[in-house]
Every structure is written in C-alpha cells, then in structure tokens.
C-alpha cells in the first residue's frame, strides 16, 4: 500500500480537445472521482489553471527571480493531479488508464513515500 500522484501532462492540442466539450469532460471527471471515492482510494484531486497564467520563481541566482508565464520549454505541461492511496503501483496504473484524458496527453505516476521512510537516527 502506498500513495501515488497521478500527474496530468497535457499539450496545447490535448488541452484544447478536452476543453472543446467541457460538459463531457466534467461528466467524465465526476464519474472518475465518484468511482475512486467509493473504492476508498481518492485522497485529493485538483485541476490547474492555464500554464500561461502561471508564475515561476527561479532560485538560480543569489536572490529569487520571478518570471511570468509557463514553466520551462517543455511541451507537456502539468495540468492537474489525482492523489491515490492504493495497494500497488499496478493499481495506480489501472486507475490512471481510467482518467478522462485526450489524445496527446500523458499521465506521469509517482510514488509518494511515507514519513516512515525518512531515515531515523540510528539507521
């Protein structure tokens, strides 16, 4: 048993495809959330605003530098997440396959280590 973060990565095209039918997207997302709640696995879920509206705080220099706009040059931008508490990585993958998504988008799955995995003094 472990927590996994399902990180939604969309391109401009895939985001546009999803937003083209917002009713359909909302209905499918609602169904997915309901299913994960009833399965006892959903801990948190959020969708993010347009990356162009984002701000980046860059710590490369001596003092943090703030720039407007999306993060870096990557084509696939972080658009939202689901945090699941599941029995295995395979189960996280199976749920990820059921997330409402559009062609061109990707879901990155990352395990969230528990605080019991932080090394203790004496280890």
């Amino acid at each position: 048993m472990s927590k996994y973060l399902l990180i939604m990565r969309g391109t401009d095209e895939s985001n546009a495809a999803l937003m083209a039918d917002i009713e359909e997207l909302m209905a499918r997302t609602h169904r997915f959330i309901e299913e994960t709640v009833k399965a006892g696995v959903l801990l948190a879920a959020e969708g993010l605003d347009d990356p162009a509206q984002g701000v980046v705080v860059d710590f490369s220099g001596e003092t943090p530098v703030v720039t407007d706009g999306p993060y870096g040059e990557t084509k696939e931008l972080f658009g939202g997440f689901f945090l699941l508490d599941v029995a295995s990585k395979e189960e996280a993958v199976e749920w990820a396959k059921r997330v409402p998504a559009a062609p061109g988008s990707k879901i990155e799955i990352r395990r969230v280590p528990g605080s019991d995995e932080v090394p203790q003094v004496g280890e």
Binding site: V37, K38, V41, D85, K89, E90, G114, D116
Partner: protein
Amino acid sequence: MGTADVEAVWRIESARIVAALTRFTGDFGLAEDAAQEAVAEALVSWPLAAPANPAGWLMATARRRAIDAIRRRTALQDRYALLAADSTADSAVDEEIDPDRIDDDVLALMFVSCHPVLSPEARVALTLRVVGGLSSEEIARAFLVPVPTVQARITRGKKTIAAAGVPFELPPAAERRERLGGVLSVLYVIFTEGSTATSGDRLLRPDVAYEAIRLARTLAALQPDEPEVHGLLALCELTAARFPARTGPDGSPVLLDEQDRRRWDFSAIRRGLAALARASARGLGPYGLQAAIAAVHASAPSVEATDWDRIVVLYEALGRVAPSPVVELNRAVAVAMASGPEQALAIVDELIAADRLPGSHLVPTVRGELLARLGRRPEARAELELAARLCANQRERSVLLRKAAALS
C-alpha cells in the same frame, strides 16, 4: 499483462462483480465462485493476450461461469427450472454494471459478509475476500494463519449463508443500525490486527490496517449519513497517522511520550479530523468518542501539553455509552496524567478487585507504571514482570522486561 496487473484490476472490480452477480443469481456463494473462476482464467490468459477492456472481460467471464453453474445445478434438479433460469439469467445479467443499483448491491455485499450468522473469523475472511478483493494467501498473511484455514473459513461461511437463507438485500430499517454496527466491528477488528498485532514479532502491520481504512472509506461513501461510520474512519485515520513514529529503526515499539511527532502523518490527521467533524453531527457514538480521544493526542505538541482533562471527560462519556474494563483502564491512565497516579491506582485496583480483565497483560502493565511513578519500585517491578509473562506480542514483551529491569 502480469499477475500484479490482473490483481490490480481485480482489486478495483471484485466487489462490484460479486455484488452484481449475487443480485442476478440470488446466490452469494455461486457468485463468489464464478468471480473467482473468472480471475483464475484472467491470470492464465491476460499475460498471453491482454483484453481491451479488462473490467468488462472479468464481468462477462464471471457471468458466463455463473450461468454455467446455474445450468449444471438446475440440470440436476428440474428440466423446467433449467429453461426458466436459462432465460432469466441470460437476459438479466448485462455486460455492464447498472450504476444506479451497484452501490446498494456493494453495500448489501458488506452486510452479507458481516452477517451475524457467521463466525467472527468467517466475517473477517469474507469481507476481505469479496469486498476487499484480497486472495486467500493475502488474508492468511494478514492474520498469520495457514492458507487452508482461510479457505475453509470462506467455504464454511458461504455454506452458512446459504443454509440460513440470508437474503441479498439491505437489512430492514428496524435492524439497520444494529447490522451496521456489526459491519463496523468487523472493519475495526481488521484495523486492530494491523495496528496492534495480537501475535507475531512485528508491532504494526500497516498493510492490514490499510485494508480496513480502505473499506471504511468505501462504507463512508455508501452510507454518508451514518455518524459512526465516519467515527470509525476518523479513529482509523488518526491512529494510523501515528504509525510512522510508533516503531524505532529496529522495529521496537516507541511509546507515545517518546514519539517524534514530526513523523506523524499530517495529511492522515487532517483526513481524520474531517471525518470526526462529520461524525459529530448528532453526538458522538463509541467510535466517534475514541476518535475524539485520538484527535486530542493528534493535536497536542507533546504528552505534557496534552489536554488530559478533556481525555478524561471523553473516556467517562465512552464508559457510559460503551462500558468496558479496557475503557476503565484507559480512563485510569488519563486520570494519572490529569490528576496524578494515586487516583488512577484506585481505579485500577477496583478493576482487579472485580476481576474484570482476568489474564490481560494490560492491567499489570498500567499498575506497574503507576506504582513506579509513586516510587513503589519493588511492587512496580513485580507487576511489569507479570505483564511480560502475560503478553503475546514479542516486541511489547521485551519493552516490559526492559522497564522492569530498570526498576531493580
């Protein structure tokens, strides 16, 4: 697809498949057998060719196995019944699960798995198997019993359900509250097995506790208006939040006053407090009160800065709604913290005089601690040694012996 992938789909789908098949066949045992046959087939065929829709494949295969079983059975009984069962079974069992009905069916499945006609062991095994989607091997590992024992409990359980003619439906309103209490106590037994392992060499088995939390979340989603469901969920979340701090690097127990509270799982505490708020809607029941006690600990920066007066009050309330010697003993511990060991010792001695917890290592454990605080060292040592002899968990026993030795 590998075994772990098949198991993952099964984990997600099993309760709904067994519930839907039980609804259509009216036979819980048959539905469970058919679902198990389907997953066994999946374990063989999916690694060779993965289906496009794994969930639909499982449902369709389980349905076919159920129909096969009905045909075999009715062929033995009555030719006319065969025809009747054949036509209803084929038309009634759809490929897709009816979303409007399935929640009630999964809930009914929980009530059947925790039915009072079953032995407590069978309730636990059936709940983990049919609602949780665990294999017999996983259940055996969780409860430290041999696999054939688990299989026998499940087989016997299914026969008991059939023999008693338990209907597949939600309990009638008059029995609902009591039956729900039965379901909650099964989930609590599973959680407790993970949070204070009754035997074996490990203090905690978080995987077992996780199964209970997952099932409690499902129940809370299906019965959102039942405060005690949220109370149990809150209790589990708040207790599990302390797991990361409860064992040291070598697996030995770390008691509350020595725990590094920075290691507590703060998102679990937040979930627990949210569930407790929902449990408080109409006054707290026994699980809600225990959760409220856990919440006081979870919100305290240290043992010294804990609101022990509030914990005493909560234990008094718990003693009124669910009187038990264990609650009395815990109240004694809280009283010791709030008002000193003298008053607490009086409560413990009353328990001993009434012989209300015979053979438990907890009474001499607490009595020994109180005597030690009162400076009565030889008596304290004798009590802790007695506690160690009575304790079945090896990890706890070694802590007791260490404390006793420190008093000599």
